[in-house]
């Protein structure tokens, strides 16, 4: 019995070996982007422009927002943490939807990868880690801007970065899962126009939805991941943490796990015929 366990690595060791091996896919992506770094870097500026345009431009007129506990914050301090969450989402989703779709259907990159010791798990984990790195860049850049502009109101704000990584991981897994269902480039309209954009607009990014939207719509929004990501990150930035944020944390972890499972299953179905 003992000899057997020694001869074969345990499940945990195998899992770790797979995760470790998936770094090769990350290395591959880094090499490809070495000459196209502007594509990744330019994404840093998107949330910054939104913060300047909406947060400060409109903020000059709106001035203050009352939070759920009655505390009043400047509009820019209200919008900025939400933009950390949307930056994490966008970084993860762009990578796992557009780029993975291209590699899956046109470049046939993964068929090449599969002819090496790497398997489906390594591909899924590798793409997710890479998307996570890209999203982390955006979230950290936004966090630094917030620090400089004095928009982080609580010491808990330091936890915004790991929270943003969780949001990014959740959306990277969701993107991977969703991409395998797309057939042509025209299908991008569906995830972007029907899911990502409405979430961006209605998840409490720019206004407190509980105060403005009808109850049934609030309930629907509360079922979606970006709402919880924004709620969590805004809670950390303002220091107002309650049961809602804990639920959000749990939601995102479960959402991540379910999506990753679907993503692996779908990729296997698509790549191994």
């Amino acid at each position: 019995m003992t000899t057997l366990t020694q001869a074969r690595p345990g499940a945990l060791a195998t899992a770790w070996a797979r995760i470790w091996r998936s770094r090769r896919l990350v290395e591959r992506n880094i090499m490809v982007y070495r000459h196209q770094w502007i594509i990744i870097l330019s994404g840093v500026f998107e949330p910054i422009f939104y913060l300047l345009g909406i947060g400060l431009g409109l903020g000059g007129i709106i001035e203050e927002v009352r939070l759920q506990n009655g505390q009043v914050v400047a509009y820019a301090a209200y919008v900025a943490p939400a933009l950390v969450a949307t930056a994490a989402m966008n970084g993860a989703v762009f990578e796992t939807i557009f780029n993975v779709f291209f590699k899956l259907n046109y470049a046939k990159t993964y068929e090449g990868v599969l002819s090496t010791p790497m398997g489906i798990t390594e591909i899924a984990i590798g793409e997710m880690l890479w998307a996570l790195m890209r999203a982390a860049l955006y979230a950290i850049a936004m966090f630094v801007i917030m620090l400089i502009m004095g928009l982080v109101l609580s010491p808990l704000g330091i936890l915004m970065v790991p929270a943003a990584l969780l949001v990014a991981a959740a959306f990277a897994a969701a993107g991977l899962a969703g991409t395998s269902y797309l057939r042509t480039v025209n299908d991008f309209d569906v995830p972007m126009g029907l899911i990502v954009m409405p979430m961006f607009l209605f998840s409490g990014t720019f206004f407190p939805i509980e105060r403005v939207l009808p109850d049934w719509l609030v309930t629907i929004v509360q079922l979606t991941p970006l709402y919880h990501g924004i709620n969590l990150i805004r809670g950390l930035s303002t220091g107002i943490i309650g049961i809602g944020q804990l639920w959000g944390l749990l939601y995102l972890v479960v959402f991540f796990a379910v999506c990753l499972w679907i993503a692996m299953r779908q990729m296997e179905r698509k790549l191994i015929k």
Binding site: E46, G53, G57, G60, F207
Partner: protein
């Protein structure tokens, strides 16, 4: 075949491709303004106090925002359609190469593509105007002018972007254009907040940029605030931008297809 007749064939080619997708395109063209107006117009509008509405000329925020978004949509759609799809016809799908082996020339290709953009933006602007009317934003029959104004914004951007795309060897530059040109124009052209809220030097820059002029024209027509002095100036800016862009587009595309 005359230049115009040939450009009609280029237009027709795009139509044949689009024919299978038009219902989806117009459905999204309807949905997007509904979502934006509900979220930004009603949501952000709820945060504004009656006194702060003076910044928007006394009209409700959603009324002020709606026409601005129409101008922005015209810019964004025209820009997108003039980058990746044009690149596809230049080098990935090589459709232009095939066209040039027929009596179709470069000038007809540029004219045909711009005519196609005009049709696309015009139809989307008409749908957008219906949405504005449904939200009760339209004040005057003069608002129908918003459709040709939006179309002009679209072709002006399309002409400049086709000229740019023809000089590019890969699609890396497009990300830079979207992030550093289109996105700032979207946010800082008086779409979401009046330019009077910007610091003085930035305001001067904003006045020199194209989307601002489109926003002014379209907002003026929808809210019945067209100014007989400034409106011709806005119009002239966009017409010149279109003319210069189209001239460059023909030049850069000629050079590209010869090389």
């Amino acid at each position: 075949m005359t230049v115009l007749a040939a450009s009609g064939r280029v237009w027709q080619r795009n139509w044949l491709v689009y024919k299978r997708l038009w219902h989806r395109s117009l459905a999204f063209g309807f949905l997007q303004p509904v979502l934006f107006l509900t979220a930004m117009g009603i949501g952000i509008g709820a945060l504004l106090t009656p006194s702060s509405l003076e910044a928007f000329g006394g009209v409700p925020y959603i009324d002020w925002l709606g026409p601005g978004l129409l101008a922005a949509m015209a810019m964004q759609t025209a820009t997108f359609e003039s980058t990746y799809p044009i690149m596809n016809r230049i080098m990935w799908g090589r459709n232009y190469e095939a066209m040039l082996s027929t009596p179709v020339g470069i000038r007809s290709i540029v004219l045909g593509e711009l005519g196609w953009t005009a049709f696309r933006i015009g139809s989307l602007a008409a749908v957008f105007l219906v949405v504005l009317a449904l939200f009760g934003i339209v004040r005057t029959p003069l608002a129908v002018l918003a459709v040709p104004f939006a179309t002009l914004v679209g072709v002006a951007f399309a002409a400049c972007l086709i000229a740019f795309t023809a000089t590019q060897k890969n699609d890396v530059g497009f990300s830079a254009i979207f992030r550093f040109v289109i996105n700032p124009l979207f946010l800082f052209s008086g779409t979401f907040f009046p330019l009077t809220n910007l610091p003085e030097p930035l305001r001067a820059v904003a006045w020199a940029t194209p989307l601002f002029h489109g926003v002014e024209l379209i907002r003026g027509s929808v809210l019945d605030q067209l100014d007989p002095v400034t409106a011709p100036l806005h119009l002239a800016y966009l017409l010149i931008m279109f003319g210069v862009g189209a001239w460059f587009a023909e030049r850069t595309l000629t050079r590209r297809m010869a090389g």
